[in-house]
Structure formats: structure tokens, C-alpha cells
């Protein structure tokens, strides 16, 4: 299933990466090259094989539901592009 410029536009939007129109075709070519190579996975017999999401066989640990950290407003905001009065400042999102 070859990727065309329209698909690249849609996927780039899913990835939230602004992609200029003149980059869509070259990107489609690159992705088609990579995906054609990936197609060889279809040769593998995976019937009855469980997907492997982790190398760690142990169950996730639980911890007590208690506060272990906090009161670090200055630390949390320290790298914000903009902040004021202990808040992140972001562009208006509701019209």
C-alpha cells in the first residue's frame, strides 16, 4: 500500500509536525522506501504468537496511594516558555 502526498499530509498532521507542501512528495518517497523494506515482516509466521510489549516479565509494582512529592511550583515552571503568577501561560484555546 503505497503512501501518497495526501497520506503524508494526514500523518504529519497526526504527528503534529507542520510539513510544507513541497516536502510531501519527497517524504512520501522516503516512507515508501522504508515501508517496502518493512513489508518483509509479512513473511514471518506469527500465528498464535502473543505480541511482545515488554522485556520485563514481572507484573507492574503497586505502591501506596500517598503523596510523595510536590510543592515545587518554581521547579515545574522553571523551563516554561512563558509563565506568570505560578501558571503556565499558553495561547488562547477557546474562541
Amino acid at each position: 500500500m503505497a503512501i501518497d502526498a495526501a497520506t503524508v499530509r494526514r500523518v504529519a498532521h497526526l504527528a503534529r509536525i507542520k510539513t510544507p507542501e513541497d516536502r510531501l512528495e519527497p517524504l512520501a518517497d522516503e516512507l515508501n522506501g522504508i515501508l517496502a523494506w518493512i513489508e518483509q515482516l509479512n513473511e514471518v509466521d506469527v500465528d498464535g504468537v502473543e505480541p511482545m510489549t515488554s522485556n520485563v516479565a514481572q507484573p507492574l509494582r503497586l505502591r501506596d496511594d500517598v503523596v510523595t512529592d510536590g510543592s515545587k511550583v518554581a521547579d515545574v515552571l522553571g523551563n516554561a516558555p512563558r509563565s506568570a503568577d505560578g501558571f503556565f501561560v499558553v495561547p488562547k484555546v477557546v474562541e
Binding site: 503512501i3 497520506t7 503524508v8 500523518v11 504529519a12 498532521h13 497526526l14 504527528a15 503534529r16 509536525i17 507542520k18 510539513t19 517524504l27 522516503e30 516512507l31 522506501g33 522504508i34 515501508l35 523494506w37 518493512i38 518483509q40 515482516l41 509479512n42 513473511e43 514471518v44 506469527v46 504468537v49 502473543e50 505480541p51 511482545m52 510489549t53 515488554s54 522485556n55 520485563v56 514481572q58 507492574l60 509494582r61 505502591r63 515545587k72 521547579d75 515545574v76 522553571g78 523551563n79 516554561a80 516558555p81 512563558r82 503556565f88 499558553v90 495561547p91 484555546v93
Partner: protein
């Protein structure tokens, strides 16, 4: 006095303890080397000289009292993917230019606990996505090694290219690194250094800038196998802040060295013979087999039938995980925010287009595609099933072999700019290393010889999960047999 910067980590620790020289002296010697080398090799993104000297003086005070930890006074380089409290951490990306973490990664915290000194932050491929260091927003690192056939600048490999170059060029005693598909072992092989990726879960991922969380694992790049055993032990720990951290003891791996390989069964996987592999790589591998055989090991031919599918599976899984992990870079709370945008979506899209380099954008796009509706099962789930096949291949041989020997890379270091045009060609660098990431196994690269251009080549030893002891045992025997002492001639 002899040049302190040429010492191994082990020898430096002994010298520090014996008060033959101070931590401040050896730290100053490295600072001088870095300042002379950085304009040419581009290894350090940030030098933390004042901090290093303060840490060194604290170490000297402890050493004077006969105290001190396992790494007391040893100047190290830190890959710029480990968050360091109060010191810029960028993962080689413009997205994080100026980002100063208010906390310390567990791995680096362990090093400071043991008395190590931080020289600075080492250059790397952007978000660890690359095999040549050319995707770094701070420019490529240059390999201290040159081919005797050409004066061209060579890649140190990637993504831990800064770590590898700094160790090979005597700019630090040893360095931290990280490995998602080969990013410790391939640069180690390209620079005549030792690099080990431990079992997944040995080293905490807390405070490591995430790339592909089910594959990312920290490890050291060092001058010798013994140095790797020392530094890895300090880096590893059980950590409740990482849900995949293993609650296991960290052994003293120096006990596994110099024991020989008599009676060990070493697997040689026939599928690692790949098309177009240079004869020199095959010859080096054959030589490694001979060394181990001469040491009394039993060589067992094995089959890992799904090997050829490891790279394509990796190039679905890693981008898929990256596309989720890197969703956090939205220009809101930290990282780059674009100016003059017209809507929230435009702000997200423009910030990410400006902040991420080309290769990162390419992989995030692949990741979004393979996770998107209609393709999730065909690509992502299938890749996860193939991943299990690859892990099962290894499971099936561990009753017959104790460790596996392969080449580390399909070539020696290549010239910068050489392979950037074709991403697929670049991806093939990881062909021998990526299987250990997918299966979560420990793997080490040991310098074992030189190619006809005089460039280093490495052999890889892969072991069972949590059996770094055998990996170190075999690596130590290879190091011994190879007697690799070549160093790059200083031109910088």
C-alpha cells in the same frame, strides 16, 4: 609526570586512592584536553568545568581522610540524554536547547553518590535517533581515528558518538551512554573502545530522555572491559521511579574477569553472515572464534532464524514508541515554542517542525503512520509478534550455549556525510546489535582488531538475561587474546 588522561579508569582510581595525584590534577588535565579537542572533535555540548573542579576538591577531601566511593574523584563524561540537575540537557535537539532539568537522573545520581566528577555533557544524535552523530542539532561529533587511506573526518558512530569519541580521545576516563538499537556498541566498535548494554531493567530509565522506552537502556563506554565492569556496577540499581526496573542484586562483575573461557559453550549464529559483509569483518569473527577455541571454549553453531526481521521490526516498534514519547514536546510546559502562530494546532505543529530535526521528524511520521487506524494491526502488532519470535530464537539456544559471539558492526567507521542520503543504508549499521535490544539481553562490544585502513573493529558478545557475568568473562578473554592497544594518532 606521566599523562594522567591516558590512564584507565581502574588505574586512575588506584592512583587517586594511593594519593599519587589528586582528583583536581586529573580533572584539570582532562579539562585542558577537552578545550584543545572540542573545536575539532565537537564531543562536548556543555563543559561543566567549575562544577567538575568543585566535585574534584570534595573528592580530594574525602580521599585525604581515606574515605570515598567506588568512583571517588574519577572525571567522567555524561551523554546529554541523562538529566543533570541545574545543567542543560538537550538530547542533541533544538527542541530542548536551554532546558535545565530541576532533577537528576538515577544513573547519574548513582555516579555522584560513588564520588565521580562530571566534566560535562556529551554530544549525541538527536533524541538518540541516528548511527553517525550527524542528526545532532549541535553538529556531528568527529572520530579521533582517521583511516590511513584518507584524511576525511570519520563518524564516531551513534547515537553515543560523543561518549565514544571522548573516551577514545582521552577527554574523560569513561562515559555514560545509552543503547536503543546499538547506540552504545556501534560507537564503541567504531572508536576502539568497550561498550556494554546491560539486561533491560538493570539500569534505571528515570531521568533519561526517552526514545523507545521498551528498548532504551543505559550503559558505559570505557577503555577496557574491567573499566566497563566497574562503571556499569555504579550505574545499575533498582529504582522505584522506573516501573520496568528490576529488583535484583547488582553483582561485582570485576570478579568475572580473567577467568578464561575453558568449558564455556559459545554460540556462533549462522544468520549473522550477511550479504555484502566485508571479508575483514568475517575474518575478525573467525579470529574471535579461534581465540575462544584456543582458550578452551566449545564452539557451537546455532541458528537464530528470525534475525533478518529484527531491523524491520525495530523500525516499526522504535518509531511507534517515539511518536508516543515525543508527544510531550508540545511547546507548552517546556521545550521550544514557536512564535507568531495563528491557532493552537498551528502552535503545536510549528513548534515541533522547528524544534525537531529531519530524522526525528521522519521517525515520528513513521510512528504515527504505523499506529494509525487501519494500520495498527498490520504494522505495529505484527512487529510486536515478530519481536517475540526473535526473543524465542534466543530462548531456544540458551540450553546449548552460554554466550553468543558476533561482529559488532557490518563495517568500520565511515566518512561523515557518506550515508546520510539513504536512511535505509544508515539503519543497517545496527543489524548485529538490535536483536539484543528487542530481546532485552546484555551485549558488549570489545575492540578486537584493525581493518586495512587501520580503523578499529569490534566483536560482540551477547548473553542471557541478567547474565552479564558470562558476557564479561568472555569479553575479558577476547580482550586478552586480541591485545588491542592501538590508539588514534593525535591530530586535533
Amino acid at each position: 609526570m606521566s599523562d594522567l588522561t591516558k590512564l584507565t579508569l581502574k588505574a586512575a582510581l588506584e592512583g587517586l586512592k594511593a594519593r599519587d595525584f589528586s582528583s583536581e590534577e586529573i580533572t584539570r588535565a582532562f579539562v585542558a584536553n577537552i578545550e584543545a579537542a572540542n573545536p575539532r572533535l565537537n564531543t562536548f555540548i556543555v563543559q561543566t568545568t567549575d562544577k567538575a573542579l568543585a566535585m574534584a576538591r570534595t573528592s580530594d577531601a574525602r580521599l585525604a581522610k581515606g574515605e570515598g566511593g567506588a568512583l571517588e574523584g574519577a572525571p567522567l563524561g555524561i551523554k546529554d540524554l541523562f538529566c543533570t540537575d541545574g545543567v542543560q540537557t538537550t538530547a542533541g535537539s533544538n527542541m530542548l536547547r536551554g532546558f535545565v532539568p530541576p532533577y537528576e537522573s538515577t544513573v547519574t545520581a548513582n555516579l555522584w553518590r560513588d564520588g565521580a566528577v562530571m566534566l560535562g555533557k556529551l554530544n549525541m544524535d538527536e533524541f538518540a535517533m541516528g548511527s553517525s552523530n550527524e542528526t545532532s542539532a549541535f553538529g556531528p561529533v568527529v572520530n579521533p581515528w582517521k583511516s590511513n587511506a584518507s584524511n576525511a573526518d570519520l563518524t564516531p558512530g551513534g547515537s553515543s558518538g560523543g561518549s565514544a569519541s571522548a573516551v577514545a580521545g582521552d577527554l574523560c576516563l569513561a562515559a555514560t551512554a545509552s543503547d536503543t538499537g546499538g547506540s552504545i556498541r556501534q560507537p564503541a566498535a567504531f572508536t576502539g573502545t568497550v561498550g556494554i548494554k546491560p539486561t533491560y531493567g538493570r539500569a534505571s530509565r528515570f531521568g533519561m530522555v526517552a526514545f523507545a522506552s521498551s528498548l532504551d537502556q543505559a550503559g558505559p563506554i570505557t577503555k577496557t572491559v574491567e573499566d566497563a565492569a566497574i562503571l556499569l556496577r555504579s550505574m545499575c540499581s533498582f529504582d522505584v521511579k522506573d516501573s520496568t526496573s528490576l529488583d535484583v542484586e547488582t553483582p561485582d562483575w570485576t570478579q568475572s574477569l580473567n577467568k578464561g573461557v575453558k568449558g564455556l559453550r559459545i554460540g556462533v549464529p549462522r544468520e549473522y553472515v550477511v550479504d555484502g559483509m566485508p571479508a575483514e569483518i568475517q575474518a575478525l569473527w573467525d579470529q574471535g572464534v579461534e581465540w575462544l577455541k584456543a582458550g578452551g571454549a566449545e564452539i557451537v553453531e546455532i541458528s537464530l532464524p528470525h534475525t533478518k526481521y529484527a531491523l524491520p521490526a525495530y523500525y516499526i516498534i522504535a518509531p511507534a514508541e517515539a511518536s508516543s514519547n515525543l508527544a510531550r514536546y508540545d511547546g507548552m510546559r517546556f521545550g521550544h515554542r514557536a512564535e507568531g502562530t495563528t491557532s493552537l494546532t498551528d502552535l503545536y505543529e510549528t513548534s515541533r517542525a522547528e524544534g525537531f530535526g529531519k530524522e526525528v521528524q521522519r521517525r515520528l511520521t513513521i510512528g504515527a503512520y504505523v499506529l494509525s487506524a487501519g494500520f495498527y494491526d498490520a504494522y505495529y502488532v505484527r512487529a510486536l509478534k515478530v519481536r517475540r519470535r526473535i526473543a524465542m530464537d534466543f530462548d531456544a539456544v540458551w540450553d546449548r550455549v552460554d554466550a553468543i559471539l558476533t561482529p559488532s558492526t557490518p563495517s568500520a567507521a565511515f566518512a561523515l556525510g557518506n550515508r546520510q542520503i539513504d536512511p535505509l543504508q544508515m539503519y543497517l549499521n545496527d543489524i548485529f546489535t538490535v536483536t539484543a535490544n528487542l530481546a532485552g539481553l546484555p551485549g558488549i562490544s570489545v575492540p578486537a582488531g584493525l581493518d586495512k585502513g587501520g580503523l578499529p573493529l569490534g566483536l560482540q558478545v551477547i548473553g542471557k538475561a541478567l547474565d552479564e557475568a558470562t558476557v564479561f568473562q568472555v569479553a575479558s578473554a577476547l580482550e586478552d587474546a586480541a591485545g588491542f592497544v592501538a590508539k588514534p594518532e593525535k591530530w586535533w
